[in-house]
Subunit: 358 residues, 2 copies
């Protein structure tokens, strides 16, 4: 049996792309680039080049089960792990890790987000293969560090330890620095973007949970006997309800002494914001990016227009706006004001029946 | 039997309000002001205060039959007169006039558009009652002239003849003057807007058709025997196909010597443009006018937003735009550029399957 496994994290709610993504249909389920496959489907396909389908697990919120079953029919139903509630990434990864441990004590595992973009798949896959070897031979947690192309303030940064190899020990993690600090990081050549991709062996990660998040480790060890039994879902509910809400970065990566980073450059974006989408999207001569239906632009520049597939938009005399329409919801705002999206979404939530627009 | 009749002209295609109005659903069928009734329904209700329902006729294109039957169930089916093709207002009015003539040789008739706004109904109805008396006692075609409130270049103007009564002979008709001329007209106090409302007796209008549009008169005289028979529709097809495409204004009003105008001021708009709508619509403190669903505006001024009833729009940082959404179509353009609407609609018509958006 192949002992390479993959955990795809697909529980995100994607409010930053509202109304294109909604609670009902977050970013990972959308065909962002008109390729005919969602970001999740692209992720699964990409991983299948290295990991056999039967070793791929998707962890998501229970409300997305049907969408995942529909989009990924090649995945066994019991490999779609359903979180009963949101508890950040540490419990989510622990759940998947202990599930895999019960099947294969000496697995090597890669954890990947379901909603990122990778444009150079060949380079990525070579690094994954190499990294899987690395974690099978070393008691190490391996992260991938992306060579930064700009002083992005929305990402986490990983500082390299000393040495001259492509894989080195991590010195520090820094979450979302301000603009000045980000510029210092980029200029130094010592800091890389944290892509949220982790590789480890079962032994290493279980030891790390036991050391740094012992409560979570104990809960899932105790839960292990009911895995694959009719009680699993009910018992998981109880465990999750009492789990600490904590990220794997804060709970494990920033504390463990055996965390390594592999420098990489494979055309990566976390697609975290409309701006990051805009930078990657194909644009017309006037620097407009349009997704979905037919958009007709007159004397308009630097806009992002997202409309449903069978729709038409006529836009005249508009510059630098985001126009996004989905279902019965329309958003028009300057595209450098997307940080206000959260306010809009909150204001809508307070309307009578506001939920139906989110 | 009551010999007061009404002809409501409801064949307009309303492309000037695209995409809020479309070929499939032009302006007269829309609830423009959120009153719970379309402009056509408001027109019928208004006329029913003076004219019995069974004496009201609607002339429209055959493609709108179902919408009229649905919106005006009180109208007898054979009072919805269906034009087989567009031939401007003279043939349309001739058809309705000869239909009424067959029923009532000494009818007095008022012709009204179906898609205008009248805000002071009481004043309007008093003028209609008085006008019906006037045309029953005089061999006269009576038009209503609206006291102009601005040098509007989109309207036709009627020049008063000499005298000091509220109803006078018409001296001239002038279609859509330029801005300078319109200003001279308004300043003179002698020129009134042509509201497109006409009153006449059967005898007077038939004589006018015979004198000024004898071909049309002859065609409908010959058609009269098949009215209310199974042949009507087929024969009407033939007659219409050969009819001159001419307006009642150009074909009759500007030529006849017995045209009178009644000065009036009852809060009238032809709702011919988004601008005219904007001037009348209720606006928020930031001078935004919104129709339809829920519109949430942030730092936005002087916009018109028209979205479907169950929709939501979030608009931020926008000033002076028209945002109109209907079905699968969205328009965003500066509201003083609405004259470009025709170009947009033409461009869309040239798209493969462009028709479905119009």
């Amino acid at each position: 049996m192949n002992n390479l496994f993959c955990i795809i994290m697909a529980g995100g709610v994607g409010s930053r792309f509202w109304p294109y993504s909604t609670n009902q249909c977050p970013k990972q389920f959308l065909d962002f680039f008109g390729t005919g496959r969602s970001l999740l489907q692209s992720t699964v396909e990409r991983m299948e080049a290295v990991i056999p389908s039967e070793n791929i697990y998707v962890v998501t919120n229970k409300s997305y089960r049907e969408q995942i079953e529909q989009q990924c029919p090649q995945l066994a139903q019991d490999h779609i792990l359903l979180e009963p509630m949101r508890r950040n990434t540490a419990p989510c990864i622990a759940y998947a890790v202990y599930k895999i441990k019960k099947r294969c004590e000496d697995a090597q595992i890669i954890v990947v987000p379901s909603d990122h973009l990778i444009t150079n798949e060949r380079v990525f896959l070579n690094i994954v293969r190499e990294g899987m070897n690395f974690v099978s031979e070393n008691d190490a947690i391996l992260t991938l560090g992306i060579k930064p192309s700009r002083p992005e303030t929305g990402y986490g940064y990983i500082q390299l330890g000393p040495g001259n190899t492509l894989t080195r020990k991590v010195k520090t993690f820094t979450e979302k620095p301000n603009k000045e600090l980000a510029q210092v990081f980029v200029d130094s050549g010592e800091f890389f973007w944290n892509a949220g991709i982790f590789l480890f062996s079962i032994k290493t990660i279980v030891a790390a949970f036991q050391e740094h998040l012992p409560e979570i480790a104990t809960k899932f060890e105790q839960l292990t006997p009911v895995f694959e039994t009719p009680q699993e879902s009910e018992k998981l509910n109880e465990v999750y309800a009492t789990c600490q809400n904590i990220s794997i970065d804060y709970g494990v990566m920033e504390k463990a002494q055996n965390v390594f980073v592999r420098m990489a450059d494979f055309g990566w974006s976390d697609l975290g914001t409309w701006r990051s989408y805009y930078e990657l999207a194909p644009k017309d001569k006037q620097q407009n990016a349009a997704i979905g239906g037919q958009t007709m632009l007159y004397e308009s520049q630097k806009n992002i227009v997202v409309i449903p597939k069978d729709n038409i938009a006529v836009i005249s005399g508009l510059e630098g706006y985001l126009v996004a329409q989905r279902g019965n919801t329309l958003l028009i705002c300057p595209k450098d004001e997307e940080s206000k999206l959260r306010q809009f979404v909150n204001d809508i939530a307070e309307l009578p029946e506001g939920d139906k627009f989110l």
